[in-house]
């Protein structure tokens, strides 16, 4: 297997070399991403082997906890404009994914066993991370663009939650677009991870499809919850309890 992997890696480097030649300007970033992905994935595979071997709920849950923390860190870093958004991001991702994972464990769909819940959790958390980053990014952008409109509403005695409502709606909608288009193309354009994995492993396609639907819907719900919770908490950072813009934050 490793020799075939080297083959595809060669292709990546040819591509990188071409981009370097043409001065695309992202070859450095891309190169780092490729190397980082390899190290991360091998490390996690090694690590997962151990965790699955131990299969103790405490370890499993702490792995998920670490994933959430890193996801929040990455999501926050993508919204570079204002500081103080780590907490909204981490809580959004935490609640968004925990609710779904708890449901899955309680219903015994993906039980609290490392080899089930960690892959499933990683899918939910990764998607929640993307939607949180998109939602917060869009929200900060909206607030920036409509600062004066929001201020005019506040000046009339309208509370923050009402003044921000159209912008919240736009941000949540924008954050869900990837999840929705994934759902639309499901099966037609691509057979997603869980289903292809199960089919590759020899499972009945109908059975695999049911699991896939559970995963896809879970991801959608997790995304929506994570976006709306993180935006709600972000309003607490951007604005003060006196219904004013927080002076300490440059918008």
């Amino acid at each position: 297997m490793i020799d075939k992997l080297l083959g595809v890696l060669m292709m990546v480097f040819v591509f990188l070399f071409y981009m370097k030649l043409r001065a695309y300007g992202i070859e450095r970033e891309l190169g780092f991403a490729v190397i980082r992905a390899m190290i991360q994935l091998f490390a996690i595979a090694f690590f997962l082997g151990i965790i699955i071997g131990i299969n103790h709920p405490l370890y499993t849950v702490s792995v998920l906890g670490f994933m959430i923390m890193f996801a929040a860190h990455i999501a926050r870093r993508r919204v570079i404009q204002i500081p103080g958004l780590y907490r909204p991001a981490v809580l959004g991702i935490f609640f968004g994914s925990t609710i779904i994972l708890t449901y899955s464990v309680l219903m015994n769909i993906f039980p609290l066993e490392a080899r089930f819940i960690i892959p499933f959790g990683s899918m939910v958390i990764a998607n929640a991370m993307n939607s949180t980053a998109l939602a917060l990014n869009r929200f900060v952008g909206e607030i920036k663009a409509h600062r004066y409109r929001i201020e005019a509403k506040l000046a009339l005695g309208i509370p923050i939650t009402i003044a921000c409502k159209p912008h919240v709606r736009d941000s949540v909608r924008a954050s869900l677009i990837p999840a929705i288009s994934t759902l639309e193309s499901l099966g037609l354009v691509w057979i997603p991870g869980t289903m292809s994995g199960m089919i590759l492993g020899g499972a009945d396609p109908i059975w695999a499809a049911q699991y896939q639907l559970f995963v896809s819907f879970s991801i959608l719900v997790g995304d929506a919850l994570a976006s709306i919770i993180s935006i709600y908490l972000a309003t607490k950072v951007i604005f003060t309890k006196y219904h004013t813009f927080n002076e300490e934050i440059e918008i």
């Binding site: 506040l154 009339l156 003060t240 813009f245």
Partner: protein, 253 residues
Amino acid sequence: MLDLIWDHAVIYDSYFNWMGVGLQTGKIELKRELLRHAQLRVVDLYKRLGDKEVIRGVSFEVHPGERFVITGPSGSGKSTLLKLLNRLIEPDKGRIFLGDIDLLAMDVLMVRRLLCYVPQIPVMFEGTVRDNLVFAPRYLNIPISEDSLREAMRDVGLDPSYLDKVAENLSVGEKQRVALARALLIDPVYLLLDEPTAHLDPENTRILEELILELSREKEVNFIIVSHDMAQAERLGTRIARLDNGKLSIIKG
């Protein structure tokens, strides 16, 4: 579905923020007529923004029926002072009284209904002129009839047929007047205008100035106006103050 979640967040928010306000609102409504004849008293106000002390110990009084104009060079803190009165910015030190009510101890949303701030740039909300006018009253539970909308439009010198136009498509002068009508509809005790003619041509400036004088005389609206233009201050103000480097001095009246 998402709207539903957000609305619940709103209810949760209002529950905690407004718990004490229900009582306060009732009291204010009773007192409203009294408040209309209440003087505004600002005592020793301080505000630091970044590393600059923008407002340094400002004290003044405004009496009902007055048009109090604050002039001064740009950057002297005029807008900041108005926003402090409306509590869009919280003061570091000092007190603001309306009659015998301490505005800094009161719920901030209530303060903004009593001292309504109209920003320098007239920003329209989403939708038509009608949407703009009913936005705040609908939320604040102020009953608004079609007639009162038409009257508000006439008060600011706009034809009621404008109600169904898309607000964003109006001219700046018209937007400024819609912004004024929007504020008048929530019936504030003092109306705070921040450079109301800064973005208007001479003709629209004249119209707006006449409008302010008319509203003040006939509707007994109390104005506090910020203007960098001394000639305009003379035309509009019954009393004029000058803000320089964060310090205020009365120069007329």
